[in-house]
Amino acid sequence: MTDFDSVELLDVSRHFGRRRALSHVSLTARAGDILGLLGPNGAGKSTIIGALATLVAPTSGEVRYGGKRARALGDGLRRHIGLLAHELHLYPELTARQNLEFFAKLYGADGAPAIDAALERAALADRGHEEVQGFSRGMRQRLALERALLHQPRLVLFDEPFTGLDDHAVSIVASRLRELAAAGAIVIIATHDLDLADGLVTRVALIREGRLLSDEPAAAGLRARYRSVMGHA
């Protein structure tokens, strides 16, 4: 059993030499949450995402999935993690369908219906046989989103997913995220874009210079709250 319904960072620090990318961060996210990691560029959001995705090893502290450490859960743990970063994790030389097929097989989830459905959702059903390098940024982003969610991960990690998307695309992504959370996923989004986070996230964690400044339920007036916390720290 490698599934889980909560993830937590326990006093996690990560340093590179004398620079602290993360400093004693403790956070918990449960199924159904849409947690927004907010902060300026270089605040350590990506490091948190990396630590949650098992790609970054904390210098001290630990990451727990449903109360268990990654090492105890083994390689199967990663079956339940989906990551979408700013770099889109797609092979530009392959077609949209080939990209999806490859990652589906990598996760042991093999099925043409799932891939068809994913292409449908990305609004690329009729362009599945075209190479990704011919796609616009928006098309690639939609495809990348479906690629990251193809194996129905429990933990959905987004690192700046909205850069370069138009308003319409953003609203589609946002509704997709709400669906996922309602279906029991743990959604964690790192972004510096407050407008997008406002109204979407159910909880906010404000981060600056590797430190967690505040962890609270989202409420109206996110921008004012952000400014007051960031300003006073």
Binding site: H15, R18, R20, S23, H24
Partner: protein, 218 residues
């Protein structure tokens, strides 16, 4: 260690300074004559270099697996000393070779092995200095592979061609030569340990400084 460091350094230096008198008294090797005396420094330096390289490899493997910062410090310090002793070996060797073999350099098993080992140790330091973040692990992999490489290089060049005196020379040295030889080997090894300690101290201080910077950020 701090307390006995200086006395030990004096002892080791004195030993090394005294070594020439012993070596002077040692028997002469008939075919090579005086130049053979370089052997008393050259061969032990080569031994120390090999020991240092192995220490670096083992410490790096330990660091990769256990993530123990102490092992990383040891690996870095012994890599520097591998380069230092390698330099000594590389410089003293040709002096002997020129006289004994009539050439400065030859691609025989030990020369090639020392040269490649030396090159790997230098590139290790290069990686540590210019590799950016993550260079500690990159260097560790380099050291592990480099150490695993040593026997293969030796074997391969040995099959290929060899001009160098065989390893078996050392244990069969006549007592008149063996005494001074092991004396200077001991002196050089002691110096190695002391330099290693000093270098480790430097690395620990650096780590402490980094920790201070980190604390200040808190």
């Amino acid at each position: 260690m701090r307390k006995i460091f200086l006395p030990l350094l004096v002892v080791a230096t004195a030993m090394f300074a005294y070594a020439p008198y012993l070596i002077d008294g040692a028997a002469y090797e008939s075919s090579m004559g005086l130049v053979q005396k370089i052997f008393y420094f050259h061969a032990p330096s080569g031994m120390v270099m090999l020991v240092s390289a192995i220490v670096c490899g083992v410490a790096s493997a330990l660091y990769l697996w256990k993530r123990n910062p102490g092992a990383d410090h040891l690996a870095l310090a012994s890599a520097e000393l591998t380069v230092l002793y390698g330099l000594i070996v590389m410089l003293t060797g040709p002096l002997w070779a020129r006289k004994a073999w009539g050439i400065w350099w030859d691609w025989d098993a030990r020369l090639t092995m020392s040269f490649v080992g030396w090159l790997i140790a230098i590139s290790y330091l290069f990686v540590r200095k210019y590799g950016g973040p993550g260079s500690d692990k990159l260097g560790a992999a380099l050291a592990v592979f480099g150490t695993a490489n040593v026997p293969f290089i030796y074997l391969s060049v040995n099959f290929w061609r060899t001009l160098h005196p065989k390893t078996s020379v050392v244990p069969t040295l006549p007592p008149l030569i063996a005494g001074p030889f092991w004396f200077s080997a001991l002196a050089l090894f002691l110096l190695y340990l002391l330099l290693l300690t000093a270098r480790l101290h430097l690395e620990r201080q650096r780590a402490a400084l980094d920790a201070l910077y980190l604390e200040e950020e808190d």
